[in-house]
Assembly symmetry: C2
Homo-oligomer: 422 residues x 2
């Protein structure tokens, strides 16, 4: 039996994201489950045709051969970095240069790099953590830290509305920022909840970061200006202490694994070092597929006029079905302000979300149980944590409808079960 290091053994245990990706992979391969678990974006023909056209243009000359046949440098495609600089400077007045941009093989790699450069051991015996001001927060952060204790997160304030929706807010009174915090991080729109932190919340977090001389990492994978799966007003903003993480995945290119980090050049320099050592260079194909759309600003047209309306309509469709399917139970849907998920809260549901997940899986519906989405939050018996599930609403309408029908049945059964016991 081959022995694994402590680091190695970390990855053979019960890891949330592995669980998720494994179910996702199996369901996609088997083709017989309703997949509302993973983060796969919709297949949008009008977007696909933009990339197909670009692909055909790439095949016109020898560009295809150059893209497949050359390594990029550790920061990734020079051409794509240049175009993104022009784009952000001209469209939004950002003050960035190519030294502020690096690509990674997907956003997840970027978080591995960033979290470990900004948390863990500092000098002799000092330990720092990433502060997540509002849990629930992205499942994928949980196991990324190389050190044992990488995150500190805080419960949100919850405001329930009359229409069976609710919204989380940062509990600023609770936040404690001291020497032990290496960076603040939020996903916005938030995976898993679809929450969009208000401009006021972001400004306050940004000011706190600046005041403590630490970066504010904004995971903008769903946000503005692209892919713009965001249904509230939000202005693209960057300052030297902000680390903006973006992605081409939710625009429709998840298989290309293209993460984009815009940050202070000292951060980018360290990222390039990590990229060179850990992966040699990021893949260049996603960059090649997207560079024209950035140069021509077609990416804004796609994002605002195709991608955003598509998801907003999908979200509304799924919410309507959910309100019907769950009627009679004590459910709440988080305000759908962006991202491709709906976050359901089953208040006082007699079974845990983990048990609901298993029952749904038995019936061929894959969701993600909510308890995975609280990285860095000490377990103090907070029931809410085991009362939520995340639902990807981006699938085909008929599948989503069938999935929601089954979810409605199982949730009702779960509530009923105990009523009968009472």
């Amino acid at each position: 039996m081959i022995e694994l290091s402590n680091f190695g053994r970390k990855f053979v245990g019960d890891i949330g994201i592995l669980h998720l990706m494994d179910d996702l992979g199996k369901a996609v391969a088997a083709g017989d489950s309703i997949m509302m678990g993973g983060g796969n974006p919709s297949q949008i023909p009008a977007v696909q045709s933009v990339f197909r056209d670009r692909m055909l243009r790439m095949l016109d000359g020898d560009e295809f051969e150059r893209v497949i046949g050359n390594y990029d440098g550790p920061a990734g495609s020079t051409a794509f970095r240049r175009e993104l600089v022009n784009f952000f400077c001209e469209e939004y007045g950002w003050k960035i240069s190519e030294r502020n941009i690096a690509f990674t093989n997907g956003s997840q790699s970027a978080f591995f790099f960033l979290f470990n450069m900004l948390s863990g051991e500092f000098g002799e015996g000092q330990h720092k953590r990433i502060l997540l001001p509002l849990a629930p927060e992205y499942i994928g952060y949980e196991d990324v830290g190389l050190s044992a204790d990488s995150f500190i997160s805080y419960k949100p304030q919850i405001r329930v509305s009359d229409d069976r929706t609710f919204k989380y807010f940062v509990d600023f009174d609770a936040l404690e920022i001291d020497e032990s915090v290496g960076a603040i991080c939020v996903s916005r729109p938030t995976n898993p909840t679809g929450n969009v932190l208000t401009e006021a919340e972001i400004s306050r977090l940004s000011a706190l970061a600046q005041q403590h001389n630490i970066p504010l990492i904004i995971d903008n994978a769903y946000g503005t200006p692209f892919p713009s799966i965001i249904f509230t007003d939000a202005e693209p903003r960057w300052e030297p202490h902000i680390i903006m993480c973006m992605s081409l995945s939710k625009l429709g290119l998840p298989g290309m694994r293209t993460g984009i980090v815009i940050a202070h050049e000292r951060i980018i320099e360290a990222m390039m070092g990590m990229s060179a050592v850990l992966t040699l260079a990021p893949g260049g194909f996603g960059a090649a597929l997207a560079v024209d759309a950035v140069r021509t600003r077609q990416i804004l047209d796609i994002s605002h006029n195709i991608v955003r309306p598509h998801y907003q309509q999908r979200s509304e469709y799924a919410q309507k079905l959910l309100h019907d399917a769950l009627a009679g139970t004590d459910y709440y849907i988080h305000k759908s302000e962006g991202a491709i998920f709906l976050w359901l809260w089953f208040k006082d549901m007699p079974i845990t979300s983990a048990e609901l997940y298993n029952r749904l899986k038995q019936r061929g519906v894959i969701v993600v149980p909510g308890h995975y989405f609280f990285p860095g939050l000490a377990d103090d018996g907070w029931r809410h944590r085991h009362e939520c599930i995340r639902l990807n609403y981006a699938g085909e309408s008929a599948e989503v409808a069938e999935g929601i029908r089954i979810i409605g049945e199982e949730v009702k059964k779960a509530y009923l079960q105990v009523k009968m016991r009472e």
Copy 2:
């Protein structure tokens, strides 16, 4: 000033591979250097046309859209794994299943995963290292270890031939394998030297690994059965204690970042965990481009009848030029048995290889100074370490000829300089 963790600061120092990739990126971008430094493979039209044909077939139906628009699972493309299993079982009688294969975003990521799962801290206070039985060894291993002391390597035996060539051999008498060794690793063909460990050497290393219940990692990026940049006889071999690392890069797809690991399923399971946590999933485009060639066995035809003869001819061309250009100096060329590099040894050259590198860079020729290629070898003043350079011979003939001409001039100047001083 943003503070970086100890881990982060590791990547802003003087890192061999970062140095290399940075020079490579700058030279490619500027377009005015003769690049003999990086690992870029040749652009071979007959190979490119295979991938172009495949790309066009992918665009026939909706396969292109499926490949760009879906995440694979953490082990990567199921279809490509299946075809590779069939390929290795049918062609070489390997006893593997899909549970023995995982893909990574390039081989470099695979080494990061493997080295850190097999070295570093084990249990309470036990530290293990990766044993590199023969240095010089690949520059890219050097900084991959998360712990401070990840490698132990050994000087080779050197056999010089009459024709100004030489070959390294493993010094088996020197190897010490005990509890502190977590795995043995060799690149074969070896980057940087072009050495191919003999079948006898590999058998002996394999037996040693088995005897000590540790894996033997074979970095087969240039080897058999594909891309087959190997000019000696070598049989593709796998056993459960062998971790075989392959790549599509040297077949002509470096921009696709597709690494392939074939190993015991316990290793693959841990790799999948790492892949999910650290990168979510590997990119799927390289797999899609190569899957047909594996299924039809065209990959063997390409490898044996196009790629191997191409590089063999290139290598011979470059060696001939080198013998002419360096005549009169005390140079030796390592036997060119594979890989895309020539390894030059300038015995008793009055300047170090680092100085030669700088002088060549001034003259627009990028090589890699040899001292980077001794990961894990204590510095005991061994002069050989500073007398070698690595040369990529895969470029265009005219460029290679010009580069070698300049190398010849600078090396002669370096030897002469001291003769004049004497």
